[in-house]
C-alpha cells in the first residue's frame, strides 16, 4: 500500500494550480516540469546554486521564447520569489494554452498598430 503511494509520488506530481495528477515522464521520454494542461509549474530547483530549491512556490507561465532551432521554450516566474526559469514545451502540452500565451501581448500593444502600416 505505502509502496504504491511512494511509487506514485516518484513518477507523478500534483499540479500546484489545477490539481491534475501529472506523470513526470512525457510521451517523448523527456522529463516534465510543468502541467501539460494549465502549464503551471513549481519552484523546486535553484538554478543559481544548482540543485534543489526549498522555495516550492507556484510558477506561472509568462512567456513563450523561440529558440534558433524554432523550438518553443516556456518561461515561468515564481509567484513567491520572482525566480525565472525557461523549459522546453512538451509535445502533449495544451496547444491552445500555449497559443493563448503567444498572442496575449498582441491584444494590448503599447503603440497603435496603424503605426506599422507604412512598412
Amino acid at each position: 500500500m505505502s509502496n504504491t503511494s511512494n511509487t506514485l509520488k516518484i513518477h507523478t506530481f500534483t499540479c500546484a494550480w489545477c490539481g491534475l495528477t501529472v506523470t513526470r515522464n512525457a510521451a517523448d521520454d523527456s522529463v516534465r516540469n510543468h502541467c501539460p494542461s494549465c502549464l503551471h509549474s513549481r519552484h523546486v530547483t535553484d538554478h543559481v546554486e544548482g540543485g534543489p530549491s526549498d522555495c516550492e512556490g507556484r510558477m506561472t507561465p509568462i512567456a513563450i521564447a523561440v529558440l534558433r532551432t524554432g523550438d518553443w521554450m516556456l518561461v515561468h516566474r515564481c509567484v513567491r520569489c520572482d525566480e525565472l526559469t525557461s523549459n522546453p514545451v512538451c509535445a502533449d502540452d495544451n496547444q491552445l494554452m500555449l497559443m493563448r500565451m503567444a498572442v496575449r501581448p498582441l491584444a494590448q500593444p503599447p503603440f497603435p498598430l496603424e503605426a506599422l502600416g507604412s512598412l
Binding site: 538554478h47 509568462i62 512567456a63 513563450i64 521564447a65 523561440v66 524554432g70 518553443w72 521554450m73 518561461v75 516566474r77 525565472l84 526559469t85 525557461s86 496547444q95 491552445l96 500555449l98 497559443m99 500565451m101 503567444a102 498572442v103 496575449r104 501581448p105 498582441l106 491584444a107 494590448q108 500593444p109 503599447p110 503603440f111 497603435p112 503605426a115 506599422l116 512598412l119
Partner: protein, 137 residues
C-alpha cells in the same frame, strides 16, 4: 512614433529610486553590445534604461534587483520574448548568452517599435503550429 495617452500616463506615474549615481552628463552613456549604438541611460518612461532602444540587447550586470549592478558576468543579454503583465504593460524577457540567466524588463517609451513587434510575433512565425492549433479548436 505616436503613443497612446494611457501609456504615456503609465510611464509618468512613478519614478523609481535608482542605484546608479547621477554622474556627469556623459558618464551614464553606454555602448550597445549588440549594435554598437551609443545609448544614454536616461530613457522616457523608465528611471533606469537597461537595454538598447534600437536592438533591445542588454548587458548582464544586475544580479537580483534591477540596477543593483551586482553581477560579475557581463555577458550579452538577448531579448528572447515579450509578455504582457496583468495591467497590459509589455515586458521584455532577456536571456544571458554567457550564463543563461533570465530577467524581465519594462519597455521604454523610445524602444524600436519594429524590433518589439518582431519579438512579439516570433512564436507565430511557426505556421505549422498555428495550423495544428486551429485544427484542435
Amino acid at each position: 512614433m505616436p503613443r497612446r495617452t494611457r501609456r504615456d500616463e503609465a510611464h509618468h506615474q512613478r519614478r523609481k529610486e535608482v542605484l546608479h549615481a547621477a554622474g556627469g552628463h556623459r558618464a551614464n552613456d553606454f555602448r550597445c553590445v549588440g549594435c554598437r549604438l551609443t545609448v544614454s541611460v536616461r530613457a522616457p518612461g523608465t528611471a533606469h534604461r537597461n537595454h538598447c532602444p534600437n536592438c533591445l540587447a542588454s548587458l548582464h550586470v544586475d544580479r537580483r534587483i534591477p540596477g543593483d549592478r551586482d553581477s560579475a558576468c557581463r555577458g550579452r543579454m538577448e531579448a528572447v520574448a515579450i509578455f504582457a503583465r496583468q495591467d497590459g504593460e509589455w515586458m521584455i524577457v532577456h536571456q544571458c548568452l554567457s550564463c543563461d540567466e533570465l530577467s524581465t524588463n519594462r519597455i521604454a517609451g523610445d524602444d524600436n517599435v519594429l524590433a518589439l513587434m518582431q519579438l512579439a510575433l516570433k512564436p507565430l512565425q511557426d505556421t505549422e503550429r498555428a495550423s495544428r492549433t486551429l485544427l484542435a479548436l
